[in-house]
Symmetry: C2
Subunit: 455 residues, 2 copies
């Protein structure tokens, strides 16, 4: 009886040995481990977790054949970094033996000239397969699919199917069903392997196949593919052309990658990091990317300052206003981004539609008003006690109520509007929202103060 | 030849008919559609996208047997809402026919008395299965697993396996491999169905089974289960006890749910929405949850105000300071949360370790310093031109450089520290970070201004 291998334990031990070899400069051992000691997926993880200079070194020690395997497991950013520096020869060697969809994936982002060169060097069948996938946009079902489907006809018996399968050396990964096609390659149905294994071998495929199954049009955006997979607990699904011809299939592992990437995208966008996938990107690239976002936010900050500048006379008279004004702006910002996040997420999950958007807006407004009144009281009380001035309390209380209601309004409407204009709500939404809550916050607070103190 | 059904089209048409029936008050039709017209997963989506009052109504129209199916597809929040209002009888009816892991999932969050009652009413075998899953914490492999595994011995031939399978009415969903166990139920290996289908039926299981496969200890946290599944492109994996006994299996569909939930968690946490999963939660519940987060941020806002208060004499003298000070604070906040987000994400993906944390910190510091200097120049220039005062430019420039460097430092170190203290870095990190950048920003700006203007 074999002891079940503790995968995590094995990996940690191997990595520990690797780090040891690396730090002591035992390059022959390092090279050996990179190419046969560690599985490609671990090598990829290692590369992702290594700063640029050492990463270069490690990559140069990975053999050409292994590079292809490792490339698959790298994140988009890091993968592109390596791919763009390889020539057609190296690319061909690296992509040898990989699945069509993985090859297409990698080639897609290279210059057309390079793609052409690599394709020319492939054998005809492989080239046709890759070209087929490449003809679809990257972020659609057609760009995600694999062409390694096993197809069968409907009129044969299950016994024939079993004998046909036995002639194969191996069945492609994640094959949970065989795809049934007509003579003209039109998709008819699916024969699940699980069904095949429990049915009488003498009946025909037609009698047991599924005809009502999830079928994915090649043009479907990858997000919706992910939604379908999650909704119906799919492991694989056929991809068809507009005319119903079978083009390939998508498997759950590709969808999991899509789900993970998109989940990241939302978090990253809200901090203005939409392109920054490589945790260990070099200094200059990082600086440039962050600088752009800082610049955009600086503009909104100057706008807020300009608003404050309108009321400098009031502030000179009542310096307590300068002390308290950030409170109004920040509470508006927090409340606004809560509404924004909930609505963006609701839209992403498909919960929000024109019929229930009104209810959502109403709820956000009420919540904003209720919280506005609650915290207005608290802040007004503190302000009055701190500065011994009840006018200040009234002014700040009113400003907070106004700002929280406006925050709720913008946080809810903004993403809906941006989506209608086909702009990514996460990225643009947070910038615009902060601008609104800052401007409205300062204007309400300082404006009311001017009315009370300067008239 | 059957036309491949366009799933999306069918769903949209059905939903349109449903909405029509609902709005015209055709309750018999609505009830029929809820129970047989629409698939459970669509009914669940409908409920999630409906405001509370109508949701109540719809739920009451769903038959007891259907409720169980629909419950599975609801998000945690909404599911709990319904489950906690059902009595033991209703729960038993609803959970009839569901998979062990789904039943355990639902029961887990109910009061012990209710769980006990429901379990007592089950038949012995089902009860043992559910109890087995319930004995593990919800967010571990043991809590995720299903007990419906098909097990076989190692010494039989593949022909016997095939005949054994044929005696089953159906094979459980997402079964891509049969699990090989010893007489004492110890896990030995896996026999992939794909291997079974291409091999000579006369050889034994032992000759073709995988012994080096991913084996999941029941105590493994669900995040790491998800990482393993994504890393190795798994469809299912066996779950074993500490002694190596087979307990059950985890399938990719459960992992996909985990991945999606965790992805959401990060986004939501950073806006302080960690519990708010139900887009259409009623007003009072939403108000309470948001109020807590606003309260916490109010404390940090008051802290920042206290700092400003220390320098009120300086502001009275140079009112331009009040106009410009939000710029310093906000730039620090933005830069800091960029660093924070990148590091939190890097930690979640397992990229960050003690060996490369130093490099990451160095890079963030350099990026912070470079951007600090760049934007310090820009802002200083604008300030000088706006107010015609070069001292102001110098002061604000210096303050920005200081704040951006501190922001980079805190944004990087904070999540690492919080993780060491076992505190969720996303939630706590953003609050603490804003406090730091606000306090440091105001102190640096107003402090330097005091030195230049008041001495």
């Amino acid at each position: 009886m074999a002891n079940p291998p503790d995968t995590k334990q094995i990996t940690l031990t191997k990595l520990a040995r690797f780090n040891q070899a690396f730090e002591s400069g035992a390059w022959t051992q390092v090279r050996r481990m990179l190419n046969s000691g560690l599985p490609p997926v671990d090598v990829a993880h290692l590369l992702e977790s290594t700063p640029p200079k050492e990463r270069e070194l490690l990559w140069s020690l990975v053999d050409a054949e292994q590079q292809g395997e490792v490339l698959q497991y790298l994140s988009y950013d890091v993968q592109t970094e390596f791919l763009t520096r390889m020539d057609a020869q190296e690319l061909l060697a690296a992509t040898e033996g990989l699945d069509t969809d993985d090859i297409a994936d990698m080639l897609q982002r290279l210059p057309n000239a390079v793609i052409h060169e690599v394709l020319q060097s492939m054998d005809t069948q492989d080239r046709h397969r890759v070209e087929s996938v490449l003809s679809y946009p990257e972020d659609t079902a057609g760009g995600l699919m694999n062409t390694d489907t096993i197809t069968i006809r409907a009129d044969i018996t299950l016994d024939v199917v079993l004998r046909y399968l036995r002639r194969h050396e191996r069945i492609p990964d994640s094959t949970d069903a065989l795809l049934v096609v007509s003579r003209r390659d039109e998709f008819i149905g699916r024969l699940q392997l699980n069904t095949l294994l429990v049915s009488d071998p003498n009946i025909t495929v037609r009698e047991v196949m599924e005809t009502e199954c999830v079928v994915i049009p090649a043009s479907l955006p990858e997000n919706e593919v992910a939604n379908l997979f999650q909704k119906f607990d799919l492991i694989s699904a056929p991809v068809v052309s507009a005319e119903g011809r079978l083009l390939g299939r998508i498997t759950i592992d590709d969808v999991v990658d899509v789900i993970r990437e998109n989940a990241d995208h939302a978090v990253m966008s809200m901090a203005g990091l939409e392109d920054e996938e490589d945790t260990f990107a070099p200094v200059m690239r990082t600086t440039r990317r962050r600088a752009v976002w800082l610049g955009v936010n600086l503009l909104t900050a100057f706008l807020a300052s300009a608003v404050i500048g309108l009321f400098d006379a009031t502030i000179e008279k009542v310096v307590a206003l300068a002390v308290l004004m950030p409170i109004v702006a920040s509470m508006g910002g927090i409340a606004g981004s809560q509404a924004l996040t909930v609505v963006i997420r609701g839209m992403a999950l498909g919960h929000v539609s024109s019929s229930n958007a009104q209810w959502l807006l109403n709820r956000e407004l009420i919540v904003g008003a209720l919280n506005g009144v609650l915290w207005a009281f608290v802040v007004a009380l503190v302000a009055m006690l701190w500065f011994g001035d009840w006018v200040l309390g009234v002014v700040i209380g009113a400003a907070i109520i106004i700002n929280l209601v406006v925050a709720a309004l913008s946080g809810t409407l903004l993403p809906m509007l941006l989506k209608k204009l086909n702009i990514d709500p996460a990225l643009a939404g947070s910038v615009i929202l902060t601008t609104v809550t800052d401007v409205v916050g300062f204007m309400a607070f300082l404006g009311l103060a001017t009315v009370f103190y300067l008239s």
